[in-house]
Symmetry: C2
Subunit: 397 residues, 2 copies
Amino acid sequence: MTDFTATRALFHLPDGICYLDGNSLGPLPKAAEARMREAITSEWGEMLITAWNRAGWMDLPRKVGDRVGRLIGAAPGTVVMGDTLSIKVFQALSAALQLVPDRKVVLSDSGNFPTDLYMAQGLIGALGQGYELRVVAPDEVEAALTDEVAVMMLTQVDYRTGRMHDMAHLTRAAQAKGIAVVWDLAHSAGAVPVDMAGSNAEFAVGCTYKYLNGGPGAPAFIYARPDISERVAPILSGWLGHEAPFAFDPDYRPGMGIDRMRVGTPPVLQLAALDAALDAWDGVDMADLRTRSVALCERFIAGVEASCPDLTLVSPRDAAQRGSQVSFAFENGYAAMQALIADGVIGDFRAPDVMRFGFTPLYTSDADVDHAVEVLARILRDRLWDKPEYHQRAAVT
Amino acid sequence: MTDFTATRALFHLPDGICYLDGNSLGPLPKAAEARMREAITSEWGEMLITAWNRAGWMDLPRKVGDRVGRLIGAAPGTVVMGDTLSIKVFQALSAALQLVPDRKVVLSDSGNFPTDLYMAQGLIGALGQGYELRVVAPDEVEAALTDEVAVMMLTQVDYRTGRMHDMAHLTRAAQAKGIAVVWDLAHSAGAVPVDMAGSNAEFAVGCTYKYLNGGPGAPAFIYARPDISERVAPILSGWLGHEAPFAFDPDYRPGMGIDRMRVGTPPVLQLAALDAALDAWDGVDMADLRTRSVALCERFIAGVEASCPDLTLVSPRDAAQRGSQVSFAFENGYAAMQALIADGVIGDFRAPDVMRFGFTPLYTSDADVDHAVEVLARILRDRLWDKPEYHQRAAVT
């Protein structure tokens, strides 16, 4: 059994804070502090330019990619790090469309994170030629898998509600219709067991600052199924995706395998932080993680439903259909979340009325859950959210 | 007069190292160490998700963009940070093409850094419809400005030779033919005075890990002339370029002004390092910088030509046509550079035979120049480069 008391000790958790927002930004792993000091002082400071070789900076996107790969069931050499999730969505979608050149429809759902839809809109606008983004409700995706559809692009776990698609089932259903598949694992990687290789999906993308605790602005990842990575021509054909970046050829020649999904100079400092953050996953069994995640979520749901009658569960009640977060709707949800934060319980809010709580077994304890329920119940019972300052919207909510 | 002895003291320069590769990776500014510690420990560690507002993370791309803008003659609010230079080239080129919709030719030159050409190739491949990348020799650009050309996309200072285009002149010549202009300032920003606003060019892009000392993988910048930034539809339409990112609209609506060139979640840790690195520029007069840069380069050229007859100057002899680097060709240049590095003098090598030396007034002294000349002369005179280990190519050269 994975020892989650031991993993909790690997994180810096501020005094007096009950942190249930690791699905937005994971907390600071203690190892990241030390690793960053080394990257800055010993590598950048002392080795200077030679650190690209001597400290292995150039290989970090692949090395860290393999570590992320292990957590999503991807074979070594099939995942690479870089850029942001938005950019990786653009790359994956553009590549997936090349696999089905005779069709023009990208199918997604209204539970997708907006940036995925926005990036698809930008790509489709550039491609012209009748390409179309078709967005249906999450439970209508399967019925919408027609032979017009080129690519099914979905986020597995809904950022608002935590509703989780059945990746294996939908992938099979799509591929049976000749449709290529792109999964966004932003709320899956490190949150639930993922079996990329077993799913047979063509592409996956995700970010690493949520459940993987890589720090603010940590780089994204992209996975390509090994048999198709060399069948696609990268649209973002940057020099580090070139077969021989330091040959400085005037013409782009795509690199081997997943390397062609690299673009520009990698963010070494962010990668160093992420690399250290991934140490916390050494020895973590993803089945154990899932068991703990479900237990934490169920405990929270039971507690809130027993003591907060004004809140309505918007996450699926069936744990099998839920990621590692729980969301409740409440018309004064924004103000109630501000009141909670003011009292040291940090979740977050998603428009129009969703109070969102992330449960992250690496460092969330039963006591955290019970404390959060108690504070939330008090805020609702005593209408503590009804103060003017809690209704002022900040830039980032 | 700018005090360059004072600015040198702001950097960590390793003992026994003479660093002439700041045109590839600037050294560690002492302020960056402290700022990173704060960003990691106090902001990420203690404020967690609330740091997006409380520590101003969400505004960093604009705030740091304004600081970079000052160094390239751009007005506040016209520069934003993010991603890599490759991505910013893609954005700028795609936007510039929209300004001249009836033409299909992108003109560049063979002195451009390969990734700029690669990204143009990727974009043009996606656009189809007869778009063409036309690459001419650097001294043939002006003659190639025909009424077929939609966009002139050039790197001002050649990464191999240091040859510098006349930005104002070429921009005028291009615009007189109805051509939109994209300048890559990778080897200009912090190296030579740049007057973006005065040039009237539509777009500029650049990186910040060279002369701006932002650290390995520091984010890139993009400038758009204020009157045209809202005339273009971003192809990389990410959520942070949306008019209201936290409204989570299903449809992309571009943000105001340069904000629409933001894409995904910004790399906060890299931005913190860069922000601190920019402190070194407070009070630096760019005319003083240029005077010192020319003096350092001339001193190096004179010294090498007097003592290293085997080397051939490939940089322009006229300082007015040269950036802040000096390159010499030598058939055993790779091995000679390895021998130099082994002796503590760090420059770099660019295929096929170019030994490249960057001169960065903020921390390069006359004594550094004289020492580099002396070591180089000894290596050549005594053929110290002719050892097997100096001929083994590393991954990054």
